[in-house]
Subunit: 516 residues, 2 copies
């Protein structure tokens, strides 16, 4: 057994049986070893950002890591933006970066570069495997580190000679660390804050986006009269009819400040304290109101479920509010971004998974789907656009029996549109709704917000995607997909209905005016 | 004048008047400042790898840096692969990475990440600008560092508040350092080696790819009976009729070893000592034959022109061999990769600039164009694919009066196909010849080279681009370009003739069998 075979065997034995890859020459022994370990599913991506984003989507839905396989430092660079998003989502990923053979590095060949310094941007666990008989143990340690809690991107650097050398030994998963049990006193202090009669907010994120924990957090808020809010861009939110409804913190700091105004206590349930996404001249970055205390229910590596249960018991929380089924009417007439969102709210099937990178055009999508059949909602956690389509791939691979809907915008789609080819190749059940408003609409808004000198013609030209116009239907067809274009609400409804009724990948290009 | 205005003013004053950008919110003040300094040309890219690769192509052809503008750590990650190629090409680039406002960083907002650790992969000069009244000086220092020699990627991190704060002051370019004059004794030693009668090779790269220096190196080889060889993937090679012909070192180590066999002296003219691109089990990485001495004519920061002139005088070199005009006959019949290369050799106009990322399909392109009208040839210097189309953009912006021809392969094109939109938007005179062989052909070869266990069906499936087939004509049209598909040699000749006769961007998709 060579090192590559031992590595793949170890991954499979540790529950990592899916690898999203974009390999090169230094990874050929890993590729060759795929035939020796048929339990490993390998999914080819044509760009590394697709592979890393797919691993993110997979990890969010499967609750366990997928592996990536990237080609040296430049391949890691290409995959970095979506690893950044995964880091922010706390998604477990075993990030395998192939490298030159150990004896080859000294010659500084063309593709040699400092891999570790790039990996440090997204990984605290970075292991350089150096021997075939140790690569199994290294891989098992990487799976353990990735799995958390908290989930994280664990990077394993794999030199070519470690792959090709004989003497590989499969490794075993170390026993998971037991998180510290929550301290009674800390829980009591949080309960006292919530029951103090002062304005308080239960602010949920991370693992608390899952239905069961969310219901508990919601019940705690209801029992104590606290406001319930969710983080702006959750990694995974279980929502819809029958689940606890959740308002999210606004993206724009002005609106977020209104939501948080007057609070004296914010209780963080696996969320970070609210801060402005960007800084603006003369505006606050920290959104926690002055005089408001921030309480942390459980640290990222803590036992969140136990802590929540203890808090619920202490405040006498019993049942959470439940969202009643409700669906918007089907839109007709002119096609607008909101008409698309309304159609989605009306037609979305039970168990759908929405990968939301629609940015400005998708503004009303969460509201329009509040009472739709129960579904999952996956957001752009790290702000690095180009995540939506790859995350949809990973979700579809993790959940082959569920319909995946990618809400995508023109500007963002362009970063990782190679995703469409992988969707076609794997025949994934993904419907992409592409909002084509021919603009970096968000940036046009931000340009307006930066001050008086903005908005000259040369500046505006840098945010304009209409010169030339892009035809995403043609691009998607060129990448092997079925694709249609909708220019009216009625046409869109027809196309969406058909797409949702037909398994397999489809793109619907919705021609909409910018909402800004 | 705010910091952003001072920065752009400084760049223009220092000779940097082109910026390839993919900005986000933290860069909006830079974008807003474009109207205040109209001498700066800004070119929008829809993906950061396009911007950085374009800056590489620009720097190679203009001989001075362009600037980039990237969006925080993830944007730098997306641009990293082509900055890696630029580092290997020693291209001067002022790499500007926008960042959160200095006071905002402590809040660890969604897009916060360690920019510097990523930049270290490609930059030894990394300057964090912290004040509006210093950003001009910082920028001038970055231009100086980028310009070299050696040219390099100088990274300037630009926090949003430094851009928006008043009190910006333009900076001035520091006086360039004078390189050490070459030592007579060192030149004498190299001359003695070349005149020793032992087998010797003059190995040229880097700056010695330019016609004048190449002719001198060629004359030195001719005068001493040394073999003349060029590095495998030159950043810029001036070649064709009337220039000194140059054979390049083979990509495959087996063939390279034959070219170098028996040498006792290798004289490096701005090149690195030859090493194998990748390592293979049981094969040597270092291609310098045993017992062969390596001599360095001038260090990367040295005065190469003076050193070459001194060496030429000492060995009595006078005239270099000159390539005679010659053109292959026009191909007819079935379309093959070599037919495409022959058509190119026959039709390429004087002054063309070829951005060559055709990989396997372009194998015969250098040979077929040896005697074509004089032209420039730009290669994939760092091995990170996705360089060819962006480099073509930069070359066309730098040299608007010359025809640019991008030789591109299917697998590589997919990394940065967003380039086509920028070509259309800027109406750049670039003809892309896309070899569509529906395979990662190079990797199929490499899989065969890794050993006996390779080549199972699951492994081979990871190198297959034909499931589903891609239609690059449709993709290019979707991105706003004129595009046609050629399936016969005669059809290709017609389409190429028309493309070369018509200014503006075009894509010709050449359907060819893999040569392997």
């Amino acid at each position: 057994m060579n090192g590559a075979q031992a590595l793949i065997r170890t991954l499979v034995d540790c529950g990592v049986d899916t690898c999203f890859m974009n390999p090169g020459t230094s990874e050929m022994h890993f590729v060759a070893a795929l035939d020796a370990v048929p339990e490993m599913r390998s999914v080819l991506a044509l760009f590394e950002g697709v592979a890393t984003g797919a691993a993110d989507g997979y990890g969010r839905m499967a609750g366990r890591p997928a592996a990536t396989l990237l080609h040296l430092g430049p391949g890691l660079g290409n995959g970095l933006a979506n690893l950044h998003n995964a880091r922010r989502a706390r998604t477990p990923i075993v990030n395998i970066v192939g490298d030159h053979a150990t004896h080859h590095k000294q010659y500084d060949a063309q593709l040699e570069s400092d891999i570790e310094t790039v990996a440090r941007n997204v990984s605290t666990f970075i292991r350089w495997s150096t021997k075939a008989d140790e690569v199994g143990t290294d891989a098992a340690d990487a799976v353990s580190a990735a799995s958390g809690p908290p989930g994280q991107v664990a990077t394993l650097v794999l030199p070519a000679d470690v792959s090709w050398s004989e003497g590989g030994l499969p490794g075993r998963l170390p026993a998971p660390a037991r998180p510290e049990p929550p301290a009674d006193a800390a829980i009591a202090e949080i309960a006292a804050a919530l029951q103090s009669g002062e304005p308080a907010c239960v602010f949920v994120g991370g693992r608390a986006g899952r239905a069961e924990l969310l219901a508990q957090a919601s019940a705690i808020a209801a029992a104590t009269g606290a406001k319930l809010l969710g983080e702006t861009f959750p990694a995974r939110l279980e929502r819809g009819a029958g689940r606890a409804p959740l308002d999210r913190l606004a993206y724009l700091a002005e609106f977020a400040a209104m939501q948080l105004d007057g609070l004296r206590h914010i209780v963080l349930i696996d969320a970070k304290a609210p801060v402005s996404f960007f800084a603006y001249p003369g505006k606050a970055s920290d959104l926690v109101p002055e005089g408001c205390r921030v309480h942390v229910l459980a640290p990222p590596d803590g036992d969140l479920a136990t802590a929540l249960a203890m808090l619920a018991e202490r405040v006498g929380a019993s049942t959470a509010p439940v969202q009643q089924p409700a669906a918007p009417g089907l839109p007709t007439g002119a096609l607008t971004a909101d008409a698309v969102c309304a159609a989605l709210g009306a037609l979305m099937p039970e168990g759908a998974i929405v990968s939301d990178e629609a940015n400005t055009s998708g503004l009303t999508a969460p509201g329009r789907t509040t009472g739709s059949a129960p579904h999952d909602w996956l957001c752009l956690t790290g702000g690095a656009i180009g995540q939506g389509l790859p995350v949809a791939i990973g979700a579809a691979v993790a959940c082959p029996d569920r319909k995946v809907i990618a809400l995508e915008s023109d500007g963002s789609a362009l970063y990782t549109m190679q995703s469409w080819w992988t969707m076609a190749r794997e025949n994934l059940d993904v419907t992409t709704i592409l909002f084509n408003n021919r603009s970096y609409a968000l940036l046009n808004m931000e340009l307006g917000r930066v001050g008086a000198e903005a908005g000259g013609p040369r500046a505006k030209d840098m945010l304009d995607l209409a010169r030339p116009d892009m035809d995403f239907t043609a691009i998607a067809k060129g990448l092997g997909l079925h694709a249609t274009r909708a220019t009216t609400a009625d046409g869109f409804v027809d196309q969406l209905r058909r797409a949702l009724a037909t398994p397999g990948p489809t793109v619907i290009e919705a021609m909409v005016p910018s909402i800004l």
